[in-house]
């Protein structure tokens, strides 16, 4: 076996890992037409649709509602007032509407904010109380209201993950819910639902998926199954994302991105992420920087920092980014090329390159570093970091 082959095949075999993917995944162009049959198979008789106003206007929400009605599923209501960074008050309003409509199942059609809101609504519907009562890890210990997800972006991985994140409108901080019971029962990956996504959103969400694949692989929580998912997704994203940005109407590019995003999302859900996500969450909390954009800006910096601690994994990542003869380079040179390759990808997709370009100001950096250090994602980062380390990375990304 050559050194190169050894590098390319490196996966984690830790003493402990846990793998559970409760979400059934169906992928086909036009699969939305089967959502009613699928809902009935899950025992849903009154479905409540969560979506956003743009998707209603584009007629995409109706593409979901029509097959539900045709299959004899009653519509318990439609909630389309979900903003990009959803909040607890939105969750409470939507849950109230779903309860009033007698919903026994939820259907989410939208991006990450819509799907995370739907998960939180499911918690409130099935467990009662305020959504704030249920935040934490393993607090949700029983199945919640069944949820079907139809993602209209390719990046968040929420359609397959066990996380939900919403903003507490009182404290303005993101709050997290982590439980296997938050995995949707079904993810329908219909690429036709994503073709209306504008290039900038395609690029930002696609870079989010790229970050999931990279950080899950580097995570202390990585295992053989998550490595396989993430490292299969990554080259597909690297190859396809610029094409999907350039030609959004091409359903083949969209399908590949949607599937790769779900695979990276599964890896992220089970392995965890790291300092890039921690800093991106903090930028989102302080300055509302879109999550995918923040991840894209910070990924080369976080990866450069971590590469030193995980040289073998950095070699695998370099190969996945298509860096030729990476096995012949020194670890330092390989890390440099890897960081450059990430920048090339985000540059080709025309994602902003600097934090200063997306509303962050110099005075924010200390607070963002402190917020990031306390973020749950840091728990999985492969290299220990102090606030000063994160401050340096943020400064470099500024």
């Amino acid at each position: 076996m050559t050194h190169c082959v050894m590098i390319r095949s490196m996966i984690s075999f830790p003493e402990f890992f846990d793998f559970c993917l409760p979400t059934r995944v169906v992928a086909q162009v036009g699969a939305v037409s089967n959502v009613g049959t699928e809902a009935r198979a899950l025992g849903i008789t009154r479905a409540f649709l969560l979506t956003d106003a743009v998707l209603v206007k584009l007629g995409i929400a109706e593409q979901v509602l029509a097959p539900l009605r045709e299959a004899g599923v009653e519509i318990a209501g439609v909630f389309d007032s979900i903003p990009p960074n959803s909040e607890t008050k939105v969750v409470e309003r939507a849950a109230e509407a779903a309860r009033a409509g007698g919903a026994d199942g939820l259907v989410a059609c939208g991006g990450g904010s819509v799907m995370d809101t739907a998960k939180a609504v499911g918690i409130v519907l099935s467990r009662g109380g305020s959504i704030l009562d249920h935040q934490g890890i393993n607090v949700i210990d029983r199945p919640v209201t069944p949820l079907i997800c139809l993602p209209t972006t390719a990046g968040t991985g929420s359609e397959i993950s066990r996380f939900a994140v919403v903003k507490d409108d009182a404290s303005h901080q993101k709050i997290s819910f982590v439980s296997d019971h938050l995995c949707p029962r079904l993810a329908i990956l219909d690429a036709a639902l994503t073709t209306s996504m504008p290039p900038a959103l395609t690029a930002a969400t696609g870079m989010d998926a790229c970050t999931h694949a990279v950080e899950a692989y580097c995570s202390q929580g990585a295992g053989p199954f998550t490595d396989a998912l993430g490292m299969a997704a990554l080259p597909a994203i690297v190859e396809t994302l610029p094409k999907a940005v350039a030609d959004g109407a091409d359903v083949a590019f969209r399908a590949k991105m949607l599937i790769a995003s779900a695979m990276a999302g599964a890896a992220m859900s089970l392995a965890g992420v790291g300092c890039v996500h921690a800093m991106a969450h903090a930028c989102g909390g302080r300055r509302n920087v879109p999550h995918g954009v923040a991840n894209s800006i910070l990924l080369p910096h976080g990866l450069g920092f971590n590469a030193e601690a995980i040289p073998e994994k950095a070699s695998v990542l370099a190969a996945k980014f298509g860096i030729a003869e990476c096995e012949k380079m020194s670890a330092g040179a390989r890390a440099e090329r890897l960081v450059a390759a990430v920048r090339d990808l985000s540059g080709a997709c025309r994602v902003p390159q600097r934090l200063r370009d997306v509303g962050v100001v110099t005075g924010d950096l200390d607070a963002i570093a402190e917020d990031a250090l306390a973020d749950g994602a840091m728990f999985f980062n492969p290299r220990p970091a102090e606030a000063a380390d994160l401050r340096k990375l943020l400064e470099a990304a500024f």
């Binding site: 935040q135 890890i137 393993n138 210990d141 709050i175 202390q220 929580g221 306390a374 728990f379």
Partner: protein, 142 residues
């Protein structure tokens, strides 16, 4: 058989640790800086400890307070686990990632607050086994 024979034994050991930490010049001020109330709820044996890192104590040289039983005001964070898991944790022998994945621990409340405590309490992993030995529980701190 559980490592703590009953609630009184748990309070003696974990409570004893907090008696040291609340006055510790390194850990104490950092705990006080966390500014929230933490409730530790145990099973096998059933016990509860509330650590108040929010309200400054009146006693000089003490940075935080702890009491037996539930918090009089709703805690911001509650951690639930068996006594044996808590013992392993304070010995520094628990992989938190594994414990959470295996659902041996429930963390209720803001996750960031829970995780922010981890670097603060690191010195306790050395203090706890020494304290057990000092109390005559050498077999609990191999």
């Amino acid at each position: 058989m559980p490592v703590y024979r009953d609630a009184e034994h748990l309070y003696e050991c974990i409570g004893g640790l907090f008696d040291i930490l609340k006055k510790d010049p390194v850990v104490g001020p950092k705990l006080a800086g966390a500014k929230f109330i933490l409730q530790l709820t145990y099973t096998e044996p059933e016990a509860q400890i509330t650590v108040d890192c929010l309200n400054p104590p009146a006693e000089p040289g003490v940075f935080v307070t702890w009491k037996r039983g539930p918090s009089p005001t709703p805690p911001l964070v509650e951690l639930l686990m068996k006594g044996d898991i808590a013992h392993k944790f304070w010995l520094g022998r628990l992989n938190l990632l594994v414990a959470l994945t295996m659902k041996q621990m429930v963390a209720k409340g803001p996750i960031t607050k829970v995780l922010s405590l981890l670097p603060i309490i690191k010195p306790a992993y050395a203090i706890y086994p020494q304290m057990l030995k000092d109390k005559g529980y050498r077999e609990m701190a191999p």
